[in-house]
């Protein structure tokens, strides 16, 4: 009868998230509702999991037995005295992947004779035509205080929370067939901007929620600094914070791939500047719908309208302009995280999805990257899975389809099947990736040794 009982608690990480979110609610009843709702949902799911496990374990053997009997019966009916056709080579099921274009049969006759043609605009150039084009504005610092910087384009940066991480230092890989397998080149310059959404929870953007919004941003900044996650953070009122000094790396994009007309970038933590907009552009699906729709149903869908607001975009544009002028960053290298993030082990794109839809490229005066080829696909043969497809309900970026057309064309030029060509690219990626991983590990070891000697 009592209204509060002992319940299953979520795992420690989820509990920490619940605690952090609860801290941002000041009304005790609202706070209680949130905590109880969050734990209730977990408790209910946990109860269902246990029930399913019980059902599974008790019914499993009986079920298997019954299935085998029925199967044997069916086989005997179909092949009464001839036995089961055997000796077929055992096939291993490939993981299910989807492609935006259907592939033609491998072409092994005359070079290019029947390979699919790309339209002129698809074929050349693969990267944006104005690359490299830098912003030719003049932006300069007009004032600097202990905790802020002001610039001539209205940009104001709060520097109170700026911390150090590790100095920039990474390997980039020059483009070109021959150079591809060569060693990377050590570099330390900033070559691009990666835009992120915090994908954190958002309060309704209403005057009465001002305190809660501010408090949540404060907690989020604290958390991001702890994780050394981004160079810049833009809160929901458009305030710009520098969290990590620019000449240091931030851990904003561990596994990502991008390329321009000169280099491949596989370590965007060091090569790019990470700008994070507080907000989200994906929302959770009602959990009851997820359960009823089966195992492959993603738990999130793109929001019709991102929570990132005009104030944030204006600040983001001012910050982008200033960074592009300062570091001569080509517009081609200003990209949303979702387009560069990959899973290097499964060789899938879209590992993180923030800003993978609805980013206002026009407002930032940069070309629409959703419509441009994805380097992970064109250069390393990455693909995407069913889960990715379902999140976007089949409406993928036009750039994916274009990238796959490029693959088809290149495979044709090499007189290879697309599958073989993709495998070849995958192998190249593995080589580069492993080389970079080993090199980074060795460098780290050397640095540690040096530090030890010095100390």
């Amino acid at each position: 009868m009592q209204s509060f009982h002992a319940k299953d608690l979520p795992p420690e990480n989820d509990l920490k998230k619940i605690e952090a979110l609860a801290c941002s609610i000041s009304d005790p009843v609202q706070k209680l509702r949130f905590i109880q709702r969050a734990i209730d949902q977990y408790h209910e799911k946990s109860r269902l999991r246990r029930a399913a496990a019980r059902l599974h374990s008790s019914g499993y053997l009986a079920g298997v037995g019954l299935f085998l009997i029925l199967l044997c019966g069916a086989v005997m009916l179909v092949f009464p005295f001839k036995g089961i056709p055997g000796n077929h080579p055992q096939t291993v099921k490939e993981p299910q992947v989807f492609h935006a274009v259907s592939y033609p049969e491998p072409v092994r006759t005359e070079k290019n004779s029947s390979s699919p043609r790309l339209d002129q605009e698809d074929r050349e150039p693969f990267f944006s035509p104005e690359t490299p084009k830098y912003l030719d504005k003049l932006i300069w610092m007009v004032e600097k205080t202990d905790d802020a910087e002001f610039y001539s384009n209205r940009l104001e940066i709060n520097t109170k929370h700026t911390i150090e991480n590790v100095p920039r230092g990474y390997y980039l890989f020059p483009r070109g067939e021959e150079a591809f397998l060569q060693q990377g080149v050590f570099a330390g310059q900033i070559n691009g901007i990666l835009y992120h959404a915090s994908e954190s929870d958002v309060f309704a953007y209403r005057p009465e929620m001002t305190q809660s919004i501010k408090e949540y941003s404060r907690l989020l900044i604290r958390y991001l600094n702890k994780k050394k996650a981004y160079h810049y953070f833009i809160d929901r009122f458009g305030k710009v914070y520098r969290l990590i000094r620019e000449d240091h790396a931030a851990f904003h994009s561990g596994n990502s791939i991008w390329a321009d007309d000169r280099f491949f970038y596989l370590d965007l933590n060091h090569a790019f500047i990470g700008i994070c907009f507080e907000g989200k552009d994906f929302e959770a699906i009602d959990p009851s719908r997820i359960q009823s729709n089966g195992e492959n149903q993603p738990a999130i869908v793109p929001m019709e309208r991102s929570s990132i607001n005009e104030a944030q975009l204006i600040s983001g544009k001012e910050l982008t302009d200033w960074l592009r002028v300062k570091y001569k960053i080509p517009q081609h290298n200003c990209i949303p995280h979702g387009l560069a993030s990959v899973n290097p082990y499964d060789q899938l794109i879209g590992h993180h999805l923030d800003l993978s839809h609805g980013f206002p490229f026009g407002f930032f005066e940069i070309s629409n990257k959703y419509e441009e080829p994805i380097p992970a696909i064109t250069e390393f043969g990455f693909t995407y899975d069913n889960y990715f497809m379902e999140i976007f309900q089949g409406k993928l970026w036009p750039g994916i389809s274009l990238s796959e057309k490029i693959l088809v064309m290149r495979a044709g030029e090499k007189q290879m099947s697309v599958a073989d060509y993709r495998k070849l690219l995958n192998e190249r990626f593995k080589k580069v990736f492993l080389w970079m991983r080993d090199k980074n590990a060795k460098d780290k070891q050397d640095r540690a040794g040096l530090d030890q000697e010095r100390s």
Binding site: M1, Q2, S3, F4, H5, A6, K7, L9, P10, P11, E12, D14, L15, K17, I18, E19, L21, A22, C23, I25, D27, P28, V29, Q30, K31, L32, R33, F34, I35, Q36, R37, A38, I39, Q41, Y42, K45, A53, D201, V202, F203, A204, M209, S212, A284, I285, D286, P287, I290, E295, P298, A299, I300
Partner: protein, 362 residues
């Protein structure tokens, strides 16, 4: 079996969804919860809490859970009516109850009786339910609308008497539901947690030291993990002191509530006895807490020290917190304690917590 990528994502999105639902709650939902009421039905007092006019303010009303039976006469009935003392006629007697009973008992040099004993309906008093019904009727207004949410406090089950609490809880629920509320019970210690540990995300110990018993609840993120009671409270101290000093317990209670300071040395025999029995109660409370924690396997892994909040009339005398603190430090307490503090409003904390629970339920 480990969680799949999807399981992890689902868990995270569930938390986010719960958060969004909560912060974007409509004003209608908030208005419904404003009509909620909280009631602390303790051994010595019933305290009723409702939302005040100010933002987050509370209004409290209380009545003593006491009564006295006097022989019926027209004169007595007239006096009681003139002085607006709550009473009702029962055959050849008049039952005087509530705050007035104490005053009337002092005038007649008698001792009041209790409809509740050790936190539960007093089985030795045949009129206990009627008296509680009368007190609740006088104290709690009719609901603004049918099935308005109301939470009432119940003690944790004392050792080996789970059945008593079921009866106690069911009777109180029936009395309140009959008034038109949709009532739910809440553990007394948990109510203290809701009232006092909001800043700690409802994590820590809530202790209500009342007239009939002391209730303890260890909550983690609003989920109760340990709750128990000891059958020692203010009445135990009153009776024990009265017994050894030959002073009536009403007077002992008056000294305890108005003069006692446990930080000072006792000035007389009664105060000396009060010190002794307070020490006994606190020791018993701390040792039972320690034992319960050591015996349970249900405590979550806690990485932070926990606060303890003390509330209730028995914890109110000056020096109670300091003595409690001393005992906690003396024993090898199994959980690290961040602070021990008194409730902001010790007499109303349970009712306030019940109100928060009712607002949540609404």
């Amino acid at each position: 079996m480990g969680k799949t990528r999807k399981d992890i994502e689902k868990d995270k999105t569930m938390i986010n969804q719960a958060f969004e639902e909560t912060v974007n709650e409509s004003y209608d939902e908030k208005n419904i919860s404003r009509k909620a009421l909280g009631v602390d039905i303790g051994t010595s007092k019933t305290v009723f809490a409702k939302n005040g006019n100010g933002n987050g303010s509370r209004d409290y009303l209380s009545q003593r859970n006491a009564f006295i039976e006097v022989e019926y006469s027209k004169f007595t009935e007239k006096i009681l009516k003139q002085n607006e003392i709550r009473h009702y006629r029962l055959k050849d007697s008049i039952i005087v109850y509530g705050d007035g009973a104490e005053v009337f008992a002092n005038t007649l040099n008698q001792v009041t009786r209790r409809p509740l004993k050790n936190g539960l309906l007093n089985a030795n008093e045949v009129n206990a339910i009627e008296i509680i019904r009368g007190i609740l009727d006088d104290l709690i207004p009719d609901p603004e609308e049918e099935n308005a949410p109301l939470c009432f406090s119940v003690p944790a089950a004392p050792q080996k008497s789970q059945s008593d609490i079921i009866y106690h809880e069911a009777i109180l629920k029936r009395l309140l539901d009959d008034k038109g509320f949709q009532s739910k019970s809440i553990n007394e210690g948990m109510a203290v947690v809701f009232s006092e540990l909001e800043k700690e995300n409802f994590t820590g110990f809530g202790i209500s030291a009342g007239g009939g018993m002391c209730n303890v609840c260890l909550s983690y993120l609003s989920i109760p993990h340990i709750s128990f009671s000891i059958s020692k409270g203010g009445d135990y101290i009153d009776d024990a002191v009265s017994s050894v000093t030959r002073e009536v317990s009403t007077r002992v209670r008056s000294i305890k509530e108005n003069k006692l300071n446990l930080l000072n040395d006792p000035e007389n025999e009664i105060e000396d006895a009060l010190h002794i029995y307070y020490d006994d109660l606190i020791r018993d409370l701390v040792m039972t807490m320690k034992k319960s924690i050591e015996e349970t396997s249900r405590i979550p892994k806690l990485s932070i020290p926990l606060p303890i909040v003390l509330s209730g009339g028995t914890a109110k005398p000056k020096g109670f917190k300091e003595r409690f603190e001393n005992y906690i430090h003396q024993v090898d307490f199994p959980i690290e304690i961040s602070e021990i503090r008194m409730a902001k409003d010790p007499l109303n904390a349970t009712a306030n917590g019940a109100l928060i629970a009712a607002m949540y339920a609404g």
